[in-house]
């Protein structure tokens, strides 16, 4: 239970003294000082909040988490836990616990010894250790494995033990570094639900790192989306889904990812903002009109973003766009149509509930689709920023 403040945090990996600078992974910024892994990271985490850092590999999310844990030195900026600056405090004195992707269980100790270990180091009595370990084991459903060694456990059980070792000493902040990445899809869904339940049972602040946007959306109170060491957007799952700050966030959040088309933002005869795409003209919703007016946005070439689930088939001329079906994937409750429209590949999700099988679009078929003005996003072609904000 604690607040965590990250103020202007910067992490630089210095050049290793060789004359030739190494080309960094991804598009990380390189200065004379070295590779900028995290740039000006600012975040206020409230007490008992569940924050998820999400982004592709090499975006700096794990580095940020490791700086909070004290496993990486902070190059610049301030890290405060409960208002106390902890930049130079050793990991063991920060009152945090961490769950690693690879579990990081002590292979020579039994499950009970693994879970008792942090308590033992803090001088807890045998009775206290036994009581707390039994309680945590009960919560995580690993009571029957307490006397086993980690190698005799499955991946899911090992991850539970790792979580148990972390929660047993009731840390102020619980850090999780891609804890579900090593599990198969089914077990991952199951463990995700377990973490949600766990979160309700233990009162602590969570910082969770993942590259999986589904985990981020389902677990986080707020999501921090990162790219190349820079925060792209911070917000609740609904906020980042509904109002992505830029094309990266729009593409990263949501499965399948958002479709992007080159179009125009125009003002029609009534002075209303509309998007023009291959002859179709779709007037934006009142809320979007207001946002664009507030930003004084002019008519211009834009990138139009629409989520696959917001696209529907239609026939009304002047409001629909033509496309050709490349691939049709039957998912049971829906069909994912991979199609080519406006010279770009995209996806449409069609719900099969009210459709007859003979109406399902076939491969090679020409289709007409449309979307409403409240679900369309307009992005600046150069900066890729959402023009509404």
């Amino acid at each position: 239970m604690a607040t965590v403040s990250l103020k202007h945090i910067v992490k630089v990996y210095p050049n290793d003294g060789k004359k030739k600078k190494k080309k960094p992974v991804n598009n990380l910024k390189v200065t004379e000082e070295g590779v900028l892994a995290v740039q000006d990271f600012n975040l206020e985490i409230k007490d008992k909040e569940f924050i998820v850092l999400v982004g592709p590999s090499g975006c700096g999310k794990s580095t940020t988490l490791r700086m909070v844990a004290g496993l990486e030195e902070i190059t610049r900026g301030e890290l405060l836990i409960d208002g106390k600056k902890v930049n130079d405090v050793a990991p063991k004195d920060r009152d945090i616990a961490m769950v690693f992707q690879s579990y990081a269980l002590y292979p020579h100790k039994t499950v009970r010894q693994n879970m008792e270990f942090p308590l033992k180091l803090r001088g807890a009595s045998k009775e206290e250790m036994r009581k707390k370990v039994d309680e945590a084991a009960e919560i995580l459903g690993i009571t029957e494995y307490l006397e086993r060694k980690p190698k005799a456990l499955s991946g899911g059980q090992r991850q539970r033990v790792a979580i148990g070792r972390a929660i047993v000493r009731e840390p102020k902040v619980l850090l999780m570094d891609e804890p579900l990445s090593n599990l198969d899809a089914k077990l991952r869904n199951q463990m995700r639900a377990e973490i949600i339940k766990l979160r309700q049972r233990i009162d602590t602040t969570f910082i969770y790192v993942t590259h999986d946007q589904t985990e981020a959306m389902t677990l986080g109170d707020r999501i921090v989306i990162m790219k190349d060491g820079v925060i792209q957007q911070i917000g609740t799952p609904q906020e980042v889904y509904d109002n992505p700050a830029n094309m990266f966030v729009a593409g990263f959040i949501g499965v399948p990812q958002m479709n992007f088309y080159d179009g125009k933002l125009i003002k029609n005869g009534q002075g209303q903002y509309a998007v023009a795409l291959e002859g179709a003209e779709i007037v934006l919703s009142d809320e979007k009109q207001a946002n664009l007016r507030k930003q004084n946005v002019e008519e211009q070439d834009v990138t139009i973003g629409v989520r696959p689930e917001h696209i529907e088939l239609g026939k009304e001329e002047g409001k629909t766009i033509h496309g050709t079906v490349d691939v049709s994937e039957m998912m049971g409750s829906s069909i994912h149509l991979h199609m080519n429209a406006c010279g770009k590949d995209g996806i449409i999700i069609l719900q099969t509930l009210n459709m007859e099988p003979q109406d399902f679009p076939q491969i090679g078929q020409d289709i007409q689709f449309t979307f409403s003005g409240n679900v369309v996003h307009v992005f600046d072609k150069t900066t890729q920023k959402n023009l509404e904000f």
Partner: protein, 277 residues
């Protein structure tokens, strides 16, 4: 037919090599039960009623040649040296692997290089320096053994430490371990297979070593088993071959037992070092 021939040939060849290899040890064993006058006349025959002398050769070694004292010093030097080598080199290897900078890389290269330098190349200067530094006691020779044993041990430990996920040590740090606690509570138990294999290799080397203690130790005061056997050759070339054979057998038995009981760890440890190193 062809298949059968192929499988028979290597087995036969290896059996022959094994017998060839073990034959000298068997000769020593059989002769240790013979009367000394018969050893020169019939060295390659089994003891019979005429030549068999029971355990008298063994008793001679124990009573006449201060075998117990030699065993004591050998055990002392071997055990302490191996323990010191294991603790110091494993910590050194852990540091070298985890703190990767120019200095640690240089230390690693030096350690590996020390394996290449033959002992005979440095033995005279070494014995001189050891004498000047007062390392002519069993306690002093332990330091020299540490230096000579460090190369192989650091090489093998480094290979193993690289295979330990760093997250385990980070988890220990977050759980509240100091670096020393991390080493002794977490790293050391994980390195057990390499500890055993390095321990066996170093034990066999130090237990059987003749040249270094012979050059360094104050022979009048401290005799290891190998030195004691050398001194069993009396003046004017008089040699009690029976006693020497018995002493040799008594000297090798502990090492053979030790090796056989731990040989599976040697292969495990050496393989870990070779692959990961």
């Amino acid at each position: 037919m062809t298949k059968k021939k192929k499988s028979w040939l290597p087995s036969g060849l290896l059996t022959f090599i094994c017998i060839w290899w073990i034959f000298p040890i068997l000769v020593v064993l059989f002769n240790s039960f013979k009367k000394k006058t018969w050893i020169n006349q019939q060295p390659f025959t089994l003891p019979d009623a005429k030549t068999f002398t029971g355990l008298s050769n063994y008793l001679t070694v124990i009573h006449k040649y201060h075998f117990v004292s030699a065993v004591g010093w050998t055990v002392f030097i071997t055990v302490i040296s191996v323990v010191v080598i294991l603790i110091c080199t494993s910590m050194c290897a852990w540091y070298i692997t985890r703190v990767n900078n120019r200095i640690t890389r240089a230390i690693y290269v030096l350690c590996v290089f020390s394996m290449v330098v033959p002992f005979q190349m440095v033995m005279f200067t070494l014995s001189l320096v050891a004498n000047q530094l007062g390392l002519v006691t069993p306690w002093g020779i332990i330091i020299i053994y540490l230096g000579f044993g460090a190369g192989l041990a650091v090489f093998m430990f480094c290979g193993f430490v690289k295979s330990i996920p760093i997250e385990i040590e980070e988890a220990a740090m977050i759980d509240g371990c100091t670096p020393l606690q991390t080493f002794f509570e977490i790293v050391l138990p994980i390195m057990k297979p390499t500890y055993i294999s390095v321990g066996i290799l170093e034990t066999m080397w130090i237990w059987n070593d003749f040249l270094l203690p012979y050059l360094v130790l104050d022979i009048k005061k401290y005799k290891t088993i190998s030195i004691m056997i050398q001194y069993m050759k009396g003046s004017y070339g008089r040699v009690d071959m029976g006693a020497i054979m018995a002493a040799l057998i008594m000297a090798v038995i502990p090492v053979i037992v030790f090796y056989l009981s731990c040989q599976k760890y040697i292969i495990k440890g050496v393989a870990a070092g070779a692959v990961k190193g």
